[in-house]
Amino acid sequence: MQRSKQQPKSLWQRMWEPKDVQSIAPAKKVLTYIVLIAWTFVVLFPLYWLFITSFKLPIHVSDGPFYIPFIDFQPSLHAWEYIFVDLGSDTLRPYMNSVIIAFISTALAVFIGSMSAYALTRIEYKPKVGSIMGFIAILGLVVYLTVSIKMAWQLSLSIGGALFLMFIFAFNKHFKRSLNNNDILFWIISQRIMPPVVSVLPIYIMFQQSGLLDTHFALIVTYMAVNLPIAVWLMRDFFARIPVDLEESAMLDGASRMRVFLTIFMPLAKPGLAATTMLILILSWNEYLLALFLSTADAQTMPLMVAAQNATRGPQWWYMSVLIVVMIIPVLIAAAFMGRLISKGQLGGAVKG
């Protein structure tokens, strides 16, 4: 009845008006698909190009663009052979280095970060302003002693530690002002603002002095420290959304805090853990600057090896394409495992203002 009263719509109008609230107007739909497919092309084409370049002979690269294997050019496995057979262990070593360093540092950062995030959501801390000031003053003294008087760093650190303990016991009761959990959280997050190039010089010197330069340990510890703030930041928001009742009943049953954390919190926050792990894994897998400073040969990671393919004879496109393609694979596999959880909107839920 109603439909007959309506004026007949022109084709133009029908194109732009949806049939009902749930659906999208046809013209709009077409435009949407055009934009999305265009962007898919933007995203995938460089990857496609890398992939086919890894099967090209040098002559296929230098003689201008060839787009489709078997039609434009005859693909060859020479680059893959060179990287995996001729170089063999020289490829495997950085690859294993990257796997060991990225996975261990990510696991540590997520675990330690979750612990602190849990503590910050459930336990109230009141650090005294006085002891923090005292600590900073004494740390400054330690730096001065080490650098300027050239005292051994072990000695200056222990002097600083002793002074700090004395300070805490002697003066702490005179300073009443204290901070709260939000201040601690902000302090932790603010560490992420610090550009790594500021702290990498002293870290380089520290590892050099202790003979740990160019080892897995140095890189694992540094990556963990750099990514810890992100882990705390993201995990805190996931934990904050877990209802308090759950742990209260567990605590009444006599479960310890550690038990509550390991058996209740961690399983409940699985989606959050997956999203956080994914992000940190990507960051440490692809890290370049810190590796550049802290590793030379033994602990060299993949990004450095890729960068090194720019030899004196000019960039070896075919070799580096192989390396880049090989580098994406483990991250893709990890993403496939965790992707479902992330795509459910957990990452967006994590970064709440």
Partner: protein, 385 residues
């Protein structure tokens, strides 16, 4: 008194071995947070202080080791007004009259914002920390505005400071705009949603070094995949790497290609999490989709968007891989970011200069990020709640 207390305790808890698990439970609050605090103190605060010392001294190799000589703020002087000025600040040009006009408008805008705060017109409590923070923000942004007009015109040439700010501000705005557009399109009720979502996420997984090389291939005007197009346009022999601004834009494109996915994922999740009823009601009332976006969607996603932009802002200041590999910092110093500048100084054993550049970057990054967090992030969070 004390003895009596001890006596009571002893009777209450008869001789028992100190139970490790009980101790663990008692000390749990401290033990849970201690690792994080110790790691940050050891690998962030301690290096920060050491680095401060490096920034104030001159590094010299001597026989059998090295020598650090305290030189005060000489390293910073060198960067701001001395021999490294062209490298850090840039070559200063002359400011034209109309540029002065824009500068004065911008600075009076800052002044008005300050006046509103101090006169109580903004209905915020005036605190000491709030005042100092606002004064620093206004001072830094005013200086940067003047500097931008000084080095970005024909007579001047930007140094690593202005190039970094270009990467940060132009980059983050472009990335946010594109990511928001894609997220809005993807949030619609369309087929193949999951495919687009997965595909759009991939670039963030590629190592930045790899992205740099991939874009060097993409942008190769004579042998790259788009070279037929360039030849058609008569640009086959043209080299973008020789033009300062084109080279900077290429770096920016590479950076955007990698980081749009991050913003896209976060914004998409935020859009999908917003309550649907309000939008449907507005659509039934005949509101245009622009109105729906402006009045409902955007306020709802603003807090998440602000945090995502903050994360991106923090990371954007650290850019090094792309300019280092894509253009090697060139032509000249045109694409050098501050991190790359610092790295180059380190490679030439100018440790003091390197630390000074790093510290300047830290200062700018902290001012920009904290200003954004306090003056924009908080406001959108309050509105969205």
């Amino acid at each position: 008194m004390l003895a009596a207390d001890k006596e009571v305790q002893r009777t209450r808890a008869p001789k028992r071995k100190v139970d490790f698990r009980q101790w663990l439970d008692q000390e749990a609050p401290k033990l849970l947070i201690l690792p994080t605090v110790l790691i940050i103190l050891g690998l962030a605060i301690y290096p920060l202080l050491l680095s401060a010392y490096l920034a104030l001294s001159r590094f010299k190799l001597v026989r059998g080791g090295f020598e650090l000589k305290y030189v005060g703020f000489r390293n910073f002087e060198k960067l701001i007004s001395g021999s490294q000025q062209y490298h850090f600040v840039g070559t200063l040009g002359e400011i034209l009259l109309w540029e002065w006009a824009i500068i004065s408008v911008v600075i009076s805008g800052f002044g008005y914002w300050l006046w509103r705060y101090f006169s109580g017109a903004s209905k915020k409590k005036v605190t000491i920390i709030g005042s100092i923070g606002r004064l620093i923000t206004v001072a830094v942004f005013s200086v940067l505005t003047i500097l931008a007009f000084t080095v970005l015109n024909d007579t001047g040439r930007p140094g690593s400071l202005m190039v970094t700010l270009f990467y940060v501000f132009a980059g983050v705005s472009i990335q946010f705009a594109i990511a928001l557009g894609l997220a809005l399109l993807c949030a619609q009720n369309i087929r193949g949603k999951n495919f687009f979502r997965m595909a759009f996420f991939i670039p963030i997984m590629v190592t930045p070094v790899g992205i740099a090389y991939a874009f060097r291939m993409m942008m190769d005007m004579s042998q790259g995949p788009f070279s037929p197009v360039w030849h058609l346009l008569g640009l086959g022999d043209f080299a973008w790497a020789g033009d300062a601004w084109l080279a900077r834009w290429v770096v920016l494109i590479g950076d955007s290609w990698q980081w749009i996915p991050f913003l896209f994922m976060v914004l998409l999740a935020a859009i999908e999490n917003q309550p649907k009823e309000q939008i449907e009601a507005a659509q039934l009332d005949g509101a245009s989709s622009w109105r729906v976006f402006k009045d409902i969607t955007f306020p709802a996603i603003a807090p998440v968007a602000a945090t995502a932009v903050l994360i991106r802002l923090i990371e954007a200041f650290k850019i090094i891989d792309l300019p280092n590999i894509l253009t090697n910092g060139g032509p000249g110093i045109a694409t050098e970011s501050m991190t790359l500048h610092s790295f180059i100084a380190w490679r030439t054993q100018d440790l003091g200069g390197s630390a000074a550049v790093g510290y300047s970057l830290l200062f700018i990054a902290v001012v920009v990020c904290v200003s954004f967090f306090n003056f924009i992030g908080q406001r959108t969070a309050a509105k969205g709640a």
